[in-house]
Subunit: 316 residues, 2 copies
């Protein structure tokens, strides 16, 4: 379900590395070459290119890209070139260090990555920042956001397909009770959402719907201005229907007068290798406009070309 396309016949890594090096030489930069190579290599291949580039040209490819490129295109290329775990560690750290922490970015990383991938992010975070991600999240957040976000980011959920139906029934009931009492920050509610496996939560939310006649996220919509409720709904979505969550992030990033390039870039670079195809479908289903059209309408130049290449549309 990735949109990333990799050529059937790959050139040798050394050739990719040399072509990138050539793209940086002379007066201008050959952005087209950068896109045609990097936007069509998977994480492992990019990492090999980076390694070979450093060995051959004595410089980190990211540094070279940083010198040559600028603005939104630069950010998209740099983030994309990073290894996914490294990229997530950087995105999370950037989100935490803001004066108003970007809770949603951290939530997104905590809940849409596989437990194993989230663990790799934690390792990268240790290595790069000499602290743990949960330590920073716990330190920089407060109140209900902290109460929910810290266990979400800390969890190492079970990732198997097994579902305990009796537990799904009983925990759907607990969730319904707490939500009826508007006890949205209740310990039991947070325990269930932050510790159960995604398969188990999916079963629990289905039982919720069946037993009580409304989807859990509808019941969490009582107060549209409550930011914590928005956050809780996003957690439910990220854990069980990530494509719906990402569709909405894209929609909000694109709609209106300006464009939220940060969000647009983040979703495209983090999902192109994962489930972007589903997100593209969901986007079309909700907006009746293909995502590539929407991106063309809101972006331009190399940045546009890079995003379109990553969502599998190179004929921009």
């Amino acid at each position: 379900m990735a949109t990333l396309t990799v050529p059937d016949q790959l050139p040798p890594v050394a050739e990719d590395s040399d072509r990138l090096h050539s793209a940086f030489q002379g007066w201008g930069t050959d952005e087209g070459a950068i896109i045609s190579i990097l936007a069509h290599r998977n994480a492992k291949q990019r990492s090999l290119i980076r390694q070979t580039y450093a060995e051959t040209h004595g410089e980190d490819l990211l540094k070279a890209l940083d010198k040559e490129l600028s603005s939104d295109f630069e950010r998209a290329v740099l983030l994309w070139t990073l290894h996914p775990a490294e990229r997530d560690a950087l995105l999370a750290n950037e989100a935490i260090r803001k004066l108003t922490p970007k809770h949603f970015v951290i939530l997104e990383i905590a809940c849409t990555r596989t437990p194993r991938d989230l663990f790799l992010v934690k390792e990268e975070y240790h290595a790069r920042f000499k602290r743990s991600i949960e330590e920073d999240v716990a330190y920089h957040t407060t109140g209900d956001f902290r109460k929910l976000l810290v266990p979400l980011v800390t969890a190492y959920r079970y990732d198997g397909p097994e579902v305990n139906a009796a537990l799904a029934t009983s925990e759907a009931k607990i969730l319904h009770e707490k939500i009826s009492e508007k006890a949205y920050n209740d310990e039991e509610l947070i325990r269930i959402i932050s510790t159960r496996s995604k398969a188990q939560l999916n079963a629990t939310f289905n039982h919720y719907n069946d037993q009580f006649g409304t989807a859990i996220n509808k019941d969490l919509k009582t107060d549209p201005d409550n930011d914590y409720l928005k956050f809780l709904r996003a957690a439910v979505k990220c854990l069980t229907w990530p494509e719906k969550y990402f569709e909405k992030v894209l929609r909000l990033a694109i709609k209106g007068l300006g464009t939220d390039e940060e969000a647009l870039t983040r979703v495209v670079v983090t999902r192109a290798e994962v489930d972007m195809k589903r997100i593209v479908e969901e986007y079309y289903r909700i907006n009746s406009v293909p995502l590539d059209q929407a991106i063309k309408g809101d972006t331009s130049g190399d940045y546009e070309r890079m995003l379109l290449a990553l969502i599998g549309n190179d004929n921009a």
Copy 2:
């Protein structure tokens, strides 16, 4: 600082495996042979023996041991033979499933293992129980114990030596404030204890002592009957002076009329390969009786011989 002794010249794994198989043949069981082999092989070697035994004799070594041995000796040999992460996953699960969960066993595993080793325990827990350890701990505990224990067991702490002195000062102050207010289950206090690296916590507790003139654990001793306070003190000890914590577990297991074999076995098998030497020294410092003497006084037979072999004293 391990007490485990491994011969300089190791016999081939196949020979160990065959000698164990012979020890199970005929009328009796050769317990001496079992001790002389297993109690003198490290985790990797035991794991190779287990693998070879299964391949050669078509049975899991643990199953064979289970059939041949009994009572305290059996439990000590079985727990010892397991890979440390597997053993901890089993011990944690056993502790959680009790009618009254054994919070201290889980706390001990969460706080005295390295972050990396704790992660391996979590992986083993997933594989064996098809659930996450934090999911089970959160489900089976309540109140303040849960509030502290879940983040402790879930954390993936940073494990480096870096210390932020300014942070140690400011967080020592927070801890002192909360403890002065008797807010022992305060969110900030739990945040600090459950997320900071051990090196950082060590600095923070030292600052606490220097700034306020009392050790943090003395200030946590206001009410000797409060079980949660005992638990909090144990967490502080496990995180920064594990040998003190384990010395006390051993002392309580040995002293008085009966012996708590469960605790005695657990400490010896889980620490023999780690820091048992320091625990032995600490035990002597506090009790003026060598630990091997104390064990001889309280145990007998093969169980006694097994424990003594693991703490480096085979001339029982």
